[in-house]
Amino acid sequence: MSGAVDWALALHGGAGTILREHLSPEDETRYRAGLEVALAAGRAVLEAGGTALDAVEETVTALEENPVFNAGKGSVLTAEGAVEMDAAIMDGASLDAGAVIGLRRVRNPVRLARQVMEHSPHVMLAWQGAEDFARHMGAETMALEWFVTGHRSTQLAEARAANVVSLDHSDGKYG
């Protein structure tokens, strides 16, 4: 690389079954604020000359911490009323990658995905194996109640009543 290039960052937060036309002004403000906080987290890394890998990890962690988005705290609920969270991260420079599947207690799945990438010989760990790896790495875990929000409980009740499985980002239903 002969010289510095401009940094760039983008994020998505497919944030609920609520379309914009149905959002209250208060809810729209919350969603926009969440996007802004996450963008700021990644931007801070890049402006300081940090790596793209650190930037995407910090951005996604901020989204996982915000209960309005479907990841980490605020994840949707399975048919059993549990959370099962997945995450992945990939470094375009080295083609290294890490992924975790079916986490039920790990606070920030994307951080664990990076640990799989950097501290295991594997690309992907799933369910109990991923939880065991998280414990081995000292990853922070939380009780189920920390992840579950009233909005997600209502969504599950409605989905059960309608006998559908639903995406997190539109009114589309897939059964």
Partner: protein, 134 residues
Amino acid sequence: TVGAVARDRNGNLAAATSTGGMTNKQPGRVGDAPLIGAGTYASNRSCAVSATGHGEMFIRLTVARDIAAMMEYQGLDLAAATYRKVHEELPRIDGAGGVIAVGAEGAPVLSFNSEGMYRAAQCEGAAPIIAIFE
């Protein structure tokens, strides 16, 4: 589902995706987010991609890696590659959703074929974009 893609000042690319999946899903169901090449992919040779949507369709079309492959093997630019995948190929199998992507130069591409997409993006020296797309 949430995700991010980035390019740093050294020209390196990265992608990350995280999700709770689908409401009322069968326990054990895995979508595209954690599957490298489907919902998440990054290569300095082409682009970084993170996807959100109906995961089964994104898995079947290996969406993220396919966008990168179109750039590497066909010479398509990022916008053309994402458009073909999101607006031409995914709809053929009723694949709803979209991607965010960034390449070695230029602004990120935000591409989606369904409603209610929450997005933010910024390039160095430019104002941030924060939007809920219909």
